[in-house]
Symmetry: C2
Subunit: 633 residues, 2 copies
């Protein structure tokens, strides 16, 4: 790689070139600094750096540096099984906190488990199974101390809607169950791979704005659908779209609506309402035959379900698709919840490790009759507030669920379905976050658009498509910013070396004979044509302004490249092109403060040569000072 400029050298820049023209009285001694290239690196070194920034931004092995082999072993164990980090310091006082919080979340987990399983069109018992095995595995592998693990509403409803599009849970319950376990397996596999391959940033593309809209849309759909349980409508569409759902409600004849027994239930005490309603139904059982109840539930812990996984056949594609969508959604929820509570207690949650923990717990779950689980927001909040200290609270909860599974199942016989519908509606209504949506509108209209698209997409199109549309809108937003970047005229703030936007800072004033333009984006193929046109328009307008105001004629255009954080070959061509065009107008084009990678690419493409003499400056201030001094000389 040649260095083609006497103003640009690799790293070995001599300190400064001092030039002090006598005319510059108001200025400090004129110091012109050379623009340096970044230290030279081979392609391999650059690739290595890039890969490590992409996949290992957190430098996960830094703890292992300068350690003995024995310490490295212990650290590796602690790294793989966070239980070893806190296990050795565990004591009775921590245990007491964990028992209290564990029992508290168990009281939430049991009714939620049954309800969410129904949301996924699965037998209620599967919801309880899913509150037993996965929390145990998470307690060993997970790095969050407050995550309450179990089935969650979003993943349940998405699984229910996606699977019931191809298989009816009522007509082919076994096949449906097989597909659910298979989807869970693929969700786990997908999550584990994301963690292993350190591709966790993929879930970052589900922005908060998208999730706010998505969850609100899903909540509306589910609430409408659960009217089935509340109003007792039997022939209800299971399609997850608002038009069939609403028309199905509207088309019900009066006689087919059996009188609902309960419209409202407190969200705060799902267990209380389950117990009360079960008692009520039990006491009235001779009089109220029409009330649908859960009925018989099998006793005993999770049966193995490895033999129910479904790796060939016509529905495999749906199972994989469902697995990936629910996998992404449950990861997003689990990791966001984990990070939230970790930030409150000031510890770190490692995203990629969490993905592996959640993934492995779902793979194990799929072999033991569980469906997709993750860290649930409601349960984690209860866990945190009840004083949980470590993942042991998950073990306590799992134990409570086991006791329920072994001995208390007959008690649920008379639990009315309507109470489960009420629990679901209460849970999902809480997902509608008006305030967040309002804040999005106030702060960022395009974020609000993404949110709205997710909401409407889920409501009127379908769950996966709505999600895809919302991600598309978010990506479009990034591209729009790149395609139409901001450009502006800078002026000098009197008595300083600071150059700022003329329109924003009244103290800033134009520098006569100069036009100082800042470009606020990388220069890429996607915006190079636009920037060329826009810069020529700025120059045209500046010339018109000078003519109208009898200013001194324009002689030099300075491009402030500070915010041009990258350039590609099209961008380089554009710079050359602009330079040629300005030359034909007898205008000088100089670049101020190009960042390292841009300077390097300009050098490699050999256009630095054309900027060799006085075309490249460390700052706008130095460019203005030096060029003015040249004119005066």
């Amino acid at each position: 790689m040649g260095v083609n400029s006497n103003r640009v050298e690799h790293f070995a820049c001599p300190e400064t070139n001092l030039i002090i023209p006598a005319e510059l009285v108001a200025m400090p001694p004129l110091q012109i600094h050379k623009v340096c290239l970044p230290p030279e690196q081979s392609t391999f070194q650059k690739l290595k750096h890039r890969v490590s920034e992409i996949f290992f931004p957190d430098d996960p092995l830094y703890r292992f540096k300068n350690q003995t082999w024995f310490m490295k072993l212990i650290l590796a164990l602690q790294f793989l099984f966070p239980v070893f980090q806190w296990g050795s310091e565990y004591n009775v006082s921590l245990l007491r906190s964990d028992v209290i919080s564990g029992l508290t979340i168990a009281s939430l987990a049991i009714p939620q488990g049954i309800s969410y399983a129904k949301l996924a069109n699965l037998p209620p018992i599967v919801g309880l199974y899913s509150s037993f095995v996965p929390p145990l595995i998470y307690a060993i592998l997970g790095s969050s101390r407050h995550l309450g693990v179990g089935p969650v509403s979003i993943a349940s409803l998405v699984m229910g809607s996606m699977l019931s599009e191809v298989v009816s849970p009522g007509e082919e319950p076994i096949l449906y169950l097989q597909l659910a376990f298979t989807a869970t397996f693929f969700a786990g596999l997908f999550q584990t791979s994301l963690g292993l391959l350190r591709l966790g940033f993929i879930i970052d593309f589900l922005s908060k704005a998208t999730l706010v809209g998505f969850m609100a849309g899903a909540a509306v759909i589910v609430s409408l659908q659960q009217l089935k349980g509340l109003l007792g409508i039997v022939h209800f569409t299971s399609k997850m779209q608002i038009i069939p759902v609403i028309s199905s409600v509207l088309n019900q004849k009066d006689e087919s609506i059996r009188k609902p027994k309960l419209f409202w239930v407190s969200a705060a005490a799902p267990l209380t309402s389950v117990i009360l309603s079960t008692l009520l139904v039990f006491l009235l059982k001779s009089k109220a035959h029409g009330i649908p109840v859960i009925g018989h539930l099998p006793k005993g812990v999770n049966p193995p379900s490895l033999n129910m996984l479904y790796f060939s056949g016509p529905h495999l594609a749906v199972a994989i698709k469902t697995g990936i969508v629910t996998g992404i959604l449950s990861l997003t929820e689990g990791i966001a919840v984990g990070r939230t509570f970790a930030a409150l207690k000031n510890y770190q949650v490692d995203g990629n490790k969490e993905m592996m923990a959640i993934g492995i717990m779902n793979i194990a779950g799929s072999c033991s009759s569980c469906y997709v689980t993750t860290g649930s927001f409601s349960r984690s909040a209860v866990n945190y507030n009840a004083g949980a200290q470590t993942a042991v609270s998950n073990i306590i909860m799992a134990s409570a669920v086991v006791v329920t599974l072994m001995f208390l199942m007959p008690l649920f016989y008379y639990t009315p379905n309507v109470i489960l519908a009420a629990i679901i509606i209460t849970a999902v209504i809480g997902l509608i976050d008006y305030q967040a949506a309002y804040k999005l509108w106030k702060v960022d209209k395009l974020d609000f658009m993404a949110c709205l698209c997710a909401f409407l997409g889920v409501l009127f199109v379908s769950v996966p498509l709505g999600l895809a549309i919302a991600v598309g809108v978010s990506v479009f937003k990034i591209l729009l910013h790149v395609t139409r970047p901001n450009t502006m005229i800078l002026g000098n703030i009197m008595g300083t070396q600071v150059y700022q936007n003329l329109i924003r800072y009244r103290e800033a004033s134009r520098v006569p004979s100069f036009l100082i333009l800042a470009v606020e984006s990388p220069i890429y193929f996607a915006n190079s044509t636009y920037l060329q046109e826009r810069i020529l328009r700025w120059i045209r307008e500046e010339e018109e302004w000078i003519k109208a105001n009898n200013g001194s004629p324009l002689k030099c255009v300075i491009l402030d490249m500070t915010a041009v954080t990258a350039i590609d070959t099209s961008g380089i061509d554009t710079i050359c092109e602009i330079r040629k065009m300005l030359e034909q107008k007898s205008l000088k084009l100089v670049l101020a403060n190009p960042v390292g990678s841009v300077t390097e690419k300009l050098d490699k493409s050999e256009i630095l040569e054309t900027f060799r003499l006085n075309g490249l400056y460390l700052s706008v201030g130095e460019a203005v000072a030096y060029i003015s001094s040249l004119w005066k000389a």
Copy 2:
């Protein structure tokens, strides 16, 4: 919108706050400037500004400002029909240049027209028709003076490959012709709409890197396919993928290869070789029966083909898809060629107007037996070098083609197909631009990747999919830059207010007790998690460095926001999060030089309040000076 800070005000910033602590001897008088918000604008004003930047960056109506009604009318006519701009000044000397260049490109256009039509599996005569009507229309509407209009190789081969996947040109020639005209109609419609809706920036997404790879891949495919003509193989696959093409060549038995008559032909003189080879075949016609020749061509100008457009039926989707793909490709070529020659002669070509001109000429073409046309690079180069001055050279060329169509068609009877194959191969081999690919590799590895993906995608997958993959790679490149932005530590360059990358500038030195970080990208949902982790890692590493070097303890982290050109709600949350985490470590977080839109969003989200007292500075220099003075006081 409230203003929540005593350090941030709308536009009405008082000049400066002068504070001069006696301790700061090395510094100039300490001037701390307030960070201003941009002038307040309503949502509607912002939307208007944004829309005008997206759709009207060139301010197309600026010529109409401050003009009389009569002048406005004339300017509007000139705007719509550029022929009025140069028409009034046209003279004999210009005409002479245009006649010479027009006749020169006609000599190229006739053999190219016949060959490219064969490339698109169309009757050769359609290629000549397409060199007559479209150039005439372009001469009236187009704004380039050097564009040589007619069929081009890329659009021809893409149309040939896409249409012959569904309809065999040999078995159903009429249906195939109908589809070709229909595709041309939709190409024109698409191009016109892009121009009318000012969505021209869509074609910018086909970066130069992508096109280099795409054209090379297409050239290889076409060259292999044309071996059919050159080697005289009869049963040759018409699928456009390299594996079937190569295996088809390799599987030919010896006896089925008729001895080729010509392997090589000069690229410089297609017409000469057509004439010579035609003469040769004519003279040898009694002896060489095996040579395939063009055969009978109908005399006369373009017949109307409006009745052949195909607006319903099973193949409509293919016609529309083909139209859009060939439309985009031909636009990209036409506009790039137009801009290239305009830049050489220092005049402007208006992209959106060009799109309308090319689109209208294709719609008109589809009704007069023409297929997709655009500005061809080879023809425009010849036109330019032959001295063309205005679009009249296109009219001269069209006239020459008409004379050929009316009187000279029988002369082509004995033109051997092999010579057309040779012309095609010569033309497409020229599309392989080794040097451009090498330059991409040298300057920008990711651009080279996009180029390679386009090449391999076209070669081994299919033309539209290869194109889609390459665009995907280009977009991925933008997203990657946003997802993993560069962050770096800045240091002060001694004796200046300039802060630069510590690794790049040896003169730059750390400021004790400060960590100055620059983020080189907008802060978005896609990178907020990464940036949070990365910034915390910088701080951790800095603290380790301080411990190892016995430096003064870290007290303040300055985020230089100059290159953070945008922020969204996730980004704002991240800034809050980092601030809270640093507070728990008793570290101060301040922001330096946030750009206008970022300041505004911080203000709207009400987190500026938390930065109210001494948390926001106009420049890194002022932040360092002011905070140091506070510590000393």
